[in-house]
Symmetry: C2
Subunit: 280 residues, 2 copies
Amino acid sequence: MRTVFSTITIVGVGLIGGSIGLAAKKRGVAGRIVGVGRDPQKLHDARRLGAIDEAATDLAEAVREADLVVFCTPVDRIVEQVTAAAQHAKKDAAFTDAGSTKAMIVRQVDAAALGGVRFVGSHPLAGSEKKGAEHADADLFVERTVVLTPTEQTSALGVVGGFWQSLGARLRVMSPEEHDEALAFTSHLPHLLASALAGMLPDDWHDLAASGFRDTTRVAAGDPEVWSPIFRHNRRAVLESLDQLIVRLVRFRQALVADEVSEIDQFLAQGKKVRDALGS
Amino acid sequence: MRTVFSTITIVGVGLIGGSIGLAAKKRGVAGRIVGVGRDPQKLHDARRLGAIDEAATDLAEAVREADLVVFCTPVDRIVEQVTAAAQHAKKDAAFTDAGSTKAMIVRQVDAAALGGVRFVGSHPLAGSEKKGAEHADADLFVERTVVLTPTEQTSALGVVGGFWQSLGARLRVMSPEEHDEALAFTSHLPHLLASALAGMLPDDWHDLAASGFRDTTRVAAGDPEVWSPIFRHNRRAVLESLDQLIVRLVRFRQALVADEVSEIDQFLAQGKKVRDALGS
C-alpha cells in the first residue's frame, strides 16, 4: 500500500529538496511536483534535472493545490514559511519539513494557527557537505533514517511517515527535544569540531593533511548559511554535548601527561569499538 | 634515473609494509623483497599477495643482504629494531622507517652506533584505518607526501628520497621536531577527537549517526596498538595542539552563549574556506 499524492510542493530545491523530488518521481508517489524558491536559476536547474515539474517563486500560489508540502529551507526560515503557507493551503493538506533541528520549529508551529493543515516535523539523516540540486540523488533516502517528531497535536504522522517510507527510508519516532539532544551529539558537535580543526590549519601544512584530516574535517565544507542557524536553534543541547566532549578531552590530556598507558589504551579501544560497530 | 636495489627488506608487513612491497615490485625498483615479522600467518599472506618474495622471522638473517631496509612497525619498536638490525646489515646499507612520529625515533637512532649503516627518518602520509597486507595497494604512495626528516648526521637522504619518489610519492623535508609539531595537528589531534566522539556515542543513537558522524570519526577505527605509542611519543606536541583546539572551542562556546552571530558565522566560514581549499 502506498499513498500517491496528486501534488507535492517542495519549498527549497537544494540537495535535499531536489532529492525528494527525484525520489518521489522515480517511485511514482507524486502526480505533479511543484518547486518553490527565491532564485529562478536554481528553480530552472531543478526542473531541467527532473526534480520538479513546475517552478514557482510565490509560496501562496505554489501550495494552493498541494496534498503534501515539504519545507527544505534553512531551519531559521521554516516556521515563518509553514505559517504563511498554511493560510493558502487546502484544509487537509499535510506539511512537514526537513530541518536539522526540531524543538524550536515544532513547538513554534504547534503554537501557530495552521487552520486545518496537519504538520509533523521530519529530519532525514541524509545529505552531505555538497549543495544544490545538481547533487540531488533519487536514492538519497534509501535505507537512511528519517526522524519524525510528533507531539500531542500531531495528526500527520501516518501520511508523512508513509511518504518517507515510500522513498526507501527507515523511520524513527522521537520527541523534538530528544531529537535535538541526539543530533547535537551525532551531527552538530562533529560539525563544530570539523570547523574548528579545519579553520586552524596553517597554509604551509596543507600537504601534510592526509586522508585522516580530510575525513575528520569533511563536513566543515557545509554551507555556513545552513549551519549557523542550526547551532543557534539548538544552542542548549550543543553546549551540553560540547561540554561533555571537553571533559573527555581533558581526561585524556591528564592521562597523557601522567603517561597512564592503560587509560590511553582504553580511550582508544573504546573509540575503535564503537566506530567498528558503526561500519563504513 | 632510478636506483634499483638488489634486496629490499621490509620489517612489518601490514598495510604500509605490504604496500611498499607491492609498489616496489610493480615499478621494478627491487630485485628481491624480504619481509620480516613475528606472525608466520601474516608473512604467508603477504607472500601470497605478492607483496614480498621471501618471508623471515629472524631480523638478523633478513637484513644481511639488504641494500635498503624499511621499518614499518609501531613507533615504539622502531629504534630497537633499527639498532639490532644495524649489527647484521651490510656496511653501506640504507635504513629508513615509516613511523608516524619522528623526533624520538630519529634522535635515539642518531645517538646509537649503527656502524656504517645510513639512516634517515621517513613518514609516508598514506594509509587508512584499515589494517593488514590484505588492504595493501601498489599505488598507495602515488602523489602522496612522504616527509623526510634528515639531521646533521644523515647521509641517506638521497637514496631514501629517490626510493620514495620511484614509488610515485612527493617529498617534503622537515626537521623531526617540525614534523612532529605539524603531524600532532594534522593527524594525531584528529585521531584523538575522532576517538573521543566515537567513544561517547550511546548504543541507542547508532542509527542517528549519519555520514557526517561517520566521516568525522572514521580514523577512530585505527589500531590502538599503533596509535597509543604515537600519542606517547609525541606527547608534548599533541598536548599543545589539543590546548589550542580547546581554546578555540571555548571561544566558539562563548560566541554561542552570547548569540554573537557574526562570530559564529566567521568561525564556520573560516572552516569552510580551508576545507574547500584542501579538496576532497
